[in-house]
Symmetry: C2
Subunit: 193 residues, 2 copies
DNA sequence: CCTCGGCATTAACCTGGGTTAACGATGGGG
DNA sequence: CCCCATCGTTAACCCAGGTTAATGCCGAGG
């Protein structure tokens, strides 16, 4: 067992026997990413996923007219991958890029099939992960439907406080769906009150 | 087999043996909903789900300040339920309301456990459904991040063309995250061009 | 020490969409 | 047949957030 911290974290999602975990560690590869290096980028097959061991990534898209929007930040213990594209058998439409020097335990999509064939706990894990990510996205949908930019920023600051300071304000703005200028205005307006 | 159309539709998600399907039909109850009647509303336990047999529903929330935002429309063959709340063991925060006289094949959450205990195809189905709904929500997230109201309307008109005419423009506006007035403006502006 | 590149801030101006309200069309019920 | 409820339309006005651009603040590298 090389990654007990990760094992503990994932074990909370679904109870993975230690033997099974050892099989997974044998399949995965620890990969180092320099700042700005990419785990995945558009056009590449979405046939890999990974867990952040150390560091921080952002998953983002670039629209036709060149605007970057951030879908998520992923820190230690969290999952990396173009999950939606992978499920649909499409090539990635997403950049997944290190915001800090990072390390990742990286897998091929097929590794999951191998593990699932060997023990049902992996299937259970996969389902839990799908369900969890659904809940996250629905929460975000609700934020866009109900909240203006200031309220979204306040919620971000509350719920992802641990990220503030590690990422630039411009990246947060791209996550909130506004421009860096607008976020700066909001922040200073709140500071004034 | 009372609902072969539904069986065909769900069978496309995961291959359910006919015997298993018959068990499900025995657990489910066909329920009639008048227009405006509710399958579920906030505060109720999110312990049921159903499939639309005929008719049309909307799932919506009402924010603190009384604004309705529509999370989804659900027509024949589609799933009803406060899925996110159910997964989190929370009471519903969602209204699920018939927009037309409708019928639903309705289940208790526990029925799914029963079915899963009897045959693995139900587990597979549950996973597929989770994954599918994740993809839907991520697509919507992207629309809010990248598109303005006009572009969201155009995409809605394209992808959910079958709903237009069955639902009012005001309901579409609540789905797009804008006011009915704004949508009316957009529609007439496009008509003019 | 100076320079340069990346960020945040601020200002001026513009625009998409919100708000309120008046008006019209449609259609079902008495 | 008329009434009234429901919806969509349009107009006037307002404001949040976008756009562009200038300024200033580091911090890393020469």
């Amino acid at each position: 067992m090389k990654y007990p911290t990760l094992y503990a974290r994932i074990g909370a999602w679904a109870p993975i026997p230690e033997v099974e975990w050892d099989k997974a560690e044998a399949l995965g590869k620890a990969v180092v990413f320099a700042k700005r290096a990419r785990f995945l980028e558009p056009g590449q097959p979405a046939d890999r996923f990974g867990f952040v061991l150390t560091g921080l990534f952002r998953a983002y898209r670039v629209s036709e007219d060149g605007v970057e929007s951030v879908k998520a930040f992923r820190a230690e213990g969290e999952l990396l991958g173009a999950y939606a594209e992978q499920l649909q058998g499409l090539p990635s439409a997403t950049f997944i890029e290190a915001l800090e020097p990072s390390t990742v335990l990286s897998f091929h999509s097929a590794d999951l099939d191998t593990l699932e064939a060997g023990h049902p706990s992996w299937t259970q894990l996969a389902r839990r992960i799908a369900e969890h990510h659904f809940v996250l996205k629905e929460r975000r949908e609700q934020e866009f439907l109900e909240l203006d930019a200031e309220a979204r920023w306040l919620r971000f600051r509350e719920e992802q406080a641990h990220l503030i300071g590690r990422i630039t304000q411009a990246e947060i703005a791209a996550y909130l769906g506004i421009t860096p200028v607008a976020l700066s205005r909001i922040v200073s307006r709140l500071r004034a009150r």
